[in-house]
Structures are given as C-alpha cells and as structure tokens.
Symmetry: C2
Subunit: 478 residues, 2 copies
C-alpha cells in the first residue's frame, strides 16, 4: 500500500510541473547514487528491488567497477540475472571476473538463452571458456548449437524457451501447463503446438485460450496456417514479418520443420534498430559496428572509417586527371574554375537524394529489382524538374550576383549558359546514377546502402566535370 | 482438419527445396489471382478467408480499382475492416467512394480507433466529411479528440481500446471481464487498473493473472509503479521506452493523470521504421514524406527535394568566391587545381562520417549534449589518425603516380607537401565540424539529422579551400 501511495503522490506532484519520463528516471538514479554515497545499503537495497532492470543497469554502468560489483551482489538472483542481461559486454566481463563459480552458475541458470548467446559472442575467449565450464551440460549444448547459426540469421536471435502444447490437450490442461512453465518464459502469449517428433503443427494465443471453453481441445482452436520462419532466414526478413503480421512471437523451424525456437518482439525491436544503424553507417561510408559510440575506442573508430576514406580518395584521382587534361581550357577561361564546386556539389546532392530514397525503399521492401524501369522513368522526370529549377536559379544568380553585383566581367552570357546547361544535364545524370546503382547492387547481392552519398558523389564528380568541359568546349570554342 | 493436412503437406514439400517466406507468400497471391481470373469466386472467397489480412491487402492493391472493390466486398465484416486498415490511403479512398453508407458504417464499427485516425489524416477533406457523418457520435467525438494531438506525439499513435480493471476485483472477475471485452481489443495482455475518476493506479499482465490464485485481488498483484507516458510525449521517446523496458503496451495519461489510451508494440514498430526513414531522408537533404516511393507523385518528389538543393547550391557560392579570390595563385600553379576535388571530397566524407555517427547516437539516446567535450576530444584523436593515414597515402600517390608514372613535372615536393598538409588539417577540421554541428542543433532544438552529409559537405568545401590556399601561399610563396 505504501508503494502505491508513494507512486500516486509522485503522480500528483508530476501533474503540477508535468516532468517527463526522463526526469523521473534521472531522479531515481540520483536517489540511488545518494544512498550509495551515504552508505545506506539497506535503503539502497529496497530501492533497487523496486526499480526496473534497465534502470538498475544504467545506474551500475555509471559506477566505478569495484562499486558496480558490490551493488550487483546486493541484487536478488532473479533481478541480478535480468540486470546482467542489460549490461554492456565490458561490464558483464568485469562482473564475471569478480564473482564466484556458484554465483556465475546461478546467473546462467536464470538468464534467457538468447541473452547468454549474445553475451558469449562479445566476451573474450578465456571468459567464454570459464562460462562454458560452469554452465550445465544442457545449457552448454544449446549455446553451442546457437553459436553455430550465421550472424544476423533468425537462428542467432531466437530463444529456446517457449510453451509447447499438444493438439489433444484441453484448454484447461493448457492453462495448467502454462501456469507451471510461465516463470521461466520470456513470453507466454503465443503457445506452439507440436507433434510427437517436435514438428510445428500450429500456434494458439492466450487470447484464444481465454476466449475458448475450458473443455475445448487445442486442435479445434489453434491456427494451423500460422506464419513461421527458418533458422537460416535473414533477421531483416523476420522483422518485416513482425510488422506485416503484427506478431508478438514467431516460431523458428529447422530444415526438418522441427520447432527449435521462437523469436520475440522485443528482440525484433533491437534488430530493427541495429539494421537501421547499419544502413545509416554504410550510407556514410563507415563499416558498421554494434557498440555504442562512447564505448568504442579511438582505434576501432579509425579502423571502421579509414578503408572507405582511402578508397574514395583514390577514386577522386580520376576527377583530378579530368581537370588536368582540361588545364588549357581552364587557363583560357579562368571564370569556369569558380563554378566547379557548385556543379559538383549540386550533382552529388541530387544523386544522393535519389540513392538514399531507393536504398530505404529496398530495405523496407517497398521496392525490388523488378521496379527498375519504373524507378528510372520516375527519377528522370523528377530530375528534369529539379534540373530546370536549378538551372533557372543558377542563370539568375550568375548574371545578377556574379556579373552585375560582384562586377565579374569575365562571366559572359555564354559562360552563364554553359553553367546552366551543365547543371541540367548533371542533375539528370546524377539522379539516374543515384537510383540505378543501389538497385543493381541489390540485384548482384551487394549491400545497396554502400551505394549512397560518398560513392555516388565520387562518380558524379567525374561525370559532372566531363559534362562541364565538353559543353564549355562546344559553346565557348576553347 | 483438411486445412491442417494441407498446411503440413505444404510444410513437407517446403522441406525439400526449402522455399523461404517470400515464395510461400507469392504462391498464395498467385493462386488468388488465378482464381479471380477464372472467376471461381466461391473458391476465391474460401482462400481469402484463410489468408492473413496483410496478404489480402497486398493482393487487393495489385488489382485494378473496380476489381479491388469487387473482391473487397467478398470479405466478411471483421476481415474487411482488418484488411481495410492495411490498405494505403489511395485504395482506402477508392473503396470509401464505392461502398454504401451502411457498409462504411460497419467498417468504421470494426476498425480500431488508431487506424481510423491514421486514415482520417490521409484522406481528402470531402471524404473525411462523409466518414464523420456516418460514424457514430461516440466514434466521432473520439476521432476529433485524437486528431487534436500534435503530430508524432504519444496521443497521436495511441488507441482507446484497452481493458481496464478495478483494484478490488478478483482474478476470476478480471478474467470474466477480459473474456467479455477481448474481441474488440487490439491487445489484452496488459490490463490497466483505474480509480473511480479514471486515474491510472497500476498495470497487471495476463501472465500475472494466470499465475495468481483465482480469488486473489488485483490490488495485491498489480504493478503500482508501472511506467507510463503523457499524451504530449514525443513518439520517439515512447518507442525508446518500449525497447528499454521490453513492453507490449504502455498507458498514456493526460495532464490530470487520467488514463486516456494505450500505445501498443505494433504501432511502436511502425514508429521506429518511420523515425529511421525520416532521419535517413533528412540526412540526404530530403524533406521527409510518409508515402512509399512508388506511390509518391513526381511533383511531390520534386517538392521534397528542391528546397534543399537550392539552398545548398546558393551556399556553394562562397566556395566559388574563394576560388575566384585565389585565381592568380591558381594561374601561377595550375597543378594545384587538379587536387581541389580530392581534398574537398575527402574532407566532406570525413565530416559526414562523424556527423552521421553522432546523429545516430543522439537519436538512439546513446549521446546527449552533456557529452559534447568528450565527443570532440574523441573525434580529434580519430581525425589525427585518419588524417595522418590519408596524408601519407596522398604523399605516396602524388609522388609515385602523378609525378613519376604520369610524368607531371609541375608537381614538386613542395606541392606534394602542400597537398598532404592540407589533407591532415582538413580532415581534423571536417571531423570537428561534423561532430559538433549535430550536437549544437540538438541543443537549440533543431533536428540534428539535417546536419548530415550535404550540409557538412558545403561547409567543409569552403573550409578546405581556405586551408589549401593559405598553406599553398605559405609554402609555395605564391
């Protein structure tokens, strides 16, 4: 009762100055820090008990390592495991190294298998060895099986804890089984009906069970055409199925259609976040990493960024060679040089817009390679509109600002025409390159996200210069 | 039974050539198209009944409008509403315009409120009018209330259908209430305990109810410190709470702490997808749009892309002015011009890498403004490493390829040194600009995603040219 009263007091106080979620969250963490500082361990322990695992984990990660280990040991067995799963690999490693084998054993008992596997993938080899030694033989076998699934596959994100029912069970028997198993399950709201040889026969939701008669048989209420995926399916496709079908859990079957695990919606949300981050990083010419920025070392950041920078720098050599080969023309009409950055940048930006739009469409499944011609035709029309607008703006800007206002007499009408015509042709070419490269990459099995701004810019730079100098030669006879 | 047998046959067949989810999905759609073509309406109807709403919607959207309307009318009332919710605005509008008032009324009855509100936001005014006229007064009041919540707020994505319990109810009574209400609910697995004046007092999950004794009172098992959000909270913060706390549903309260709705996990997944798309589009200098690419008209695409292109083009004027002011120096050392694109591009790419990393960190909540100095210091070190690597590579490339291999004698050691030193300084400046602008944007309340590649590139272009020409003046005395 005290709790509830306190919470309602908090609520009424909240109503006055309407603090948002962030503020409540920070207040709780501040209170815990204060209690720890004042060594009020009893009170700290009772606050910890009432705090969500995610917040306890945040609190722990902000502490110096030795204090973190002390506070961690104050948690109950169940809460300890749940908090442990929320920690980053670095903190998990530190805690594993400071606790006894039996403490580690009881954490492993409580951890959900998918969290254990995630942890194993991040830990250094010697720590993995100790964990494997302490785990029960059954857990060890499961971990080994899981670690074999390819990265980013459904198998690598599934969990082995699920409620399986038989089709001859009654609703009443099913509830009894759910009640018995629920404590150890990540989700109970979708149950999976399997045959004697563990083949998946259907699914039944707790909602169906609640609405059915107690004596009804599972077979009569189960959904026998429920969607499922295979262990080898890509996690991105799996997350697509969750949003298409509004699922809470999806069964994962092996090649023999035996049910081997389930993917739950909370893991899918992590996948969505991770896949979006990977796409965004690839689009900015960075090798994707899974660690948060502040936890990534300077050397790792350098390693993730330098390969693309070097590659793109070398590619820019062609641009330099094009300029060199037109050196004489540039010397004859120095005014032309000043427009190079504007033409290259606008071309690059136009191309990036198209490529990023197409990349996102491909990754959300809105587009596929069969839309190729449709996309090109749409982009050409958009490019003509954009190009014409930009050319008109350029024409005005060049004549009014550069020639009249800044009094640059070397800018003749013909020079202005050269720049504007180049603008139009460059934008059209840039948008065609920008929309077609990601689709071609997808077709040949490369990651389309790589075909974003930096790559497109490098190609469009060379293309725009060639267009510029050739139009200049034709119009200005240089 | 026949269904299940068919499905298992399908499964065994599947095992042989292991078709993935895509294939099964396409086969079902092909079958439906074939039945429609052969006018086997009875069989089509029975296939439709067994098919997931999402797939029926996909099938409908591929049909010409008049056929779509015909097939839509074959669906049962419940399935019709669920399929309707999955259609795009364009198809929804067509169907609304072809059905009778009473048909529309029964769809509105069946639709979940949040789907109705989504639809209303997309429909043209005259169609909205008709829908509002036909809706029941109660629905109409709710729609009006919802439409008033700001875009992208928790209020705008919440649904009004939820199960509310009282704290004095027993578990048995609660199950009876759930059973009575479940059919109309989007989710039943989290129930919300409210006081007489509709204030939120706690939450209880169906898992808690299943595991509790039938005679237990809700008050004794409910979680009275459950997280909640306010109608005005940003949807991005709400989706952060879902992944932090692994929620299936989150209560939304108004300023008086009255429970007004809930946000469900399926809507949050849509939010995550939408927010990532918006970030990605903003990063590529595109005004975010919510329609899929193939459904967006050429004019809308143009309108979304041209403002940034024009703005960035005008900004590139400064770059042109810088080149013009150094025209004499360039004429004295023509070799310098050829390196301009490489220096500008590499600077732009380095800056984009930093800005995109920081933008993503900010949007995932890994970073905030208080990390400013920490971030700058990390980026400076990464920049020095990247800059040194790139400068060394440039030095080798310039001397070996440009001078020796291509025999360009105008490239002296001093020119090479100028280029390399510029590279180092440019990369450091680019990374500082790239990491600080998004954080400053966040601080002053702008969207950090705008401070990505195109914007950074434009600034870094000007900066790199200034660095280049000043180093050239100092080293080459021009």
């Amino acid at each position: 009762m005290a709790d509830m009263e306190e919470w309602k007091d908090g609520l009424s106080a909240a109503a006055e100055d309407a603090p948002n979620f962030e503020t409540q969250h920070e207040q709780r963490i501040e209170e815990m820090s204060r209690l720890l500082e004042e060594k009020q361990m009893k009170r700290l322990q009772s606050v910890l008990e009432e705090t969500e695992e995610f917040e306890v984990a945040e609190f722990l990660m902000a502490l110096p390592p030795h204090q973190m280990a002390t506070v961690f040991r104050m948690l109950s067995k169940e809460q300890g495991a749940a908090v442990f799963a929320e920690l980053d690999a670095q903190e998990q490693e530190y805690i594993i190294n400071t606790i006894t084998d039996s403490e580690l054993g009881s954490i492993l008992d409580e951890l959900y298998l998918d969290d254990t596997v995630d942890m194993m993938e991040e830990l250094p080899a010697n720590v993995v060895k100790r964990v494997m030694r302490i785990a029960t033989p059954q857990t060890r076998a499961l971990i080994n099986q899981y670690l074999k699934y390819p990265e980013n596959s459904a198998g690598s994100i599934m969990t082995a804890e699920f409620i399986d029912l038989k089709k001859y069970m009654t609703v009443k028997e099913s509830f009894a089984r759910i009640r018995r198993l629920a404590a150890d399950m990540e989700t109970i709201y979708t149950c999976f009906v399997t045959s004697g040889d563990r083949k998946l026969e259907g699914t039944v939701t707790v909602k169906d069970l609640i609405m059915a008669d107690e004596s009804a048989v599972i077979e009569s209420i189960m959904d026998s055409s429920a969607v499922f995926c295979r262990t080898t399916d890509d996690q991105e496709d799996v997350s697509g199925m969750f949003s298409d079908y509004d699922l809470l859990a999806l069964p994962v079957v092996d090649r023999e259609n035996r049910l081997v695990g389930i993917v739950t919606v909370d893991d899918v949300m992590d996948v969505m976040e991770q896949e979006a981050t990977e796409d965004i990083e690839a689009m900015a010419a960075i090798k994707p990493s899974t660690r948060p920025y502040l936890k990534t070392g300077v050397l790792s950041l350098w390693r993730n960024r330098i390969p693309w920078l070097l590659l793109l720098m070398v590619s820019a050599t062609f641009t330099g060679m094009i300029i060199t080969s037109f050196e004489d023309a540039l010397a004859a009409q120095v005014a032309l040089t000043a427009f190079i950055p504007m033409l290259m940048d606008t071309g690059g930006n136009s191309g990036s817009q198209s490529s990023v739009t197409i990349i996102r469409g491909l990754s959300l499944g809105d587009l596929e390679f069969s839309n190729f011609l449709q996309v090109i035709w749409k982009e050409i029309r958009v490019a003509l509109l954009c190009g014409a607008t930009l050319a008109a703006a350029t024409f005005l800007k060049v004549l009014l600002i550069d020639r009249l206002l800044l009094g640059n007499d070397s800018i003749t009408i013909l020079v202005a025409a050269t720049v504007c015509l180049t603008m139009l042709v460059t934008v059209v070419c840039a948008k065609i390159v920008g929309c077609s490269l990601p689709m071609l990459a997808e077709k040949v099995g490369l990651d389309p996200a790589v075909m974003a701004s930096p790559f497109i810019t490098t190609i469009v730079d060379a293309v725009s210069l060639l267009i510029y100098f050739n139009i200049a030669k034709a119009l200005l006879h240089i």
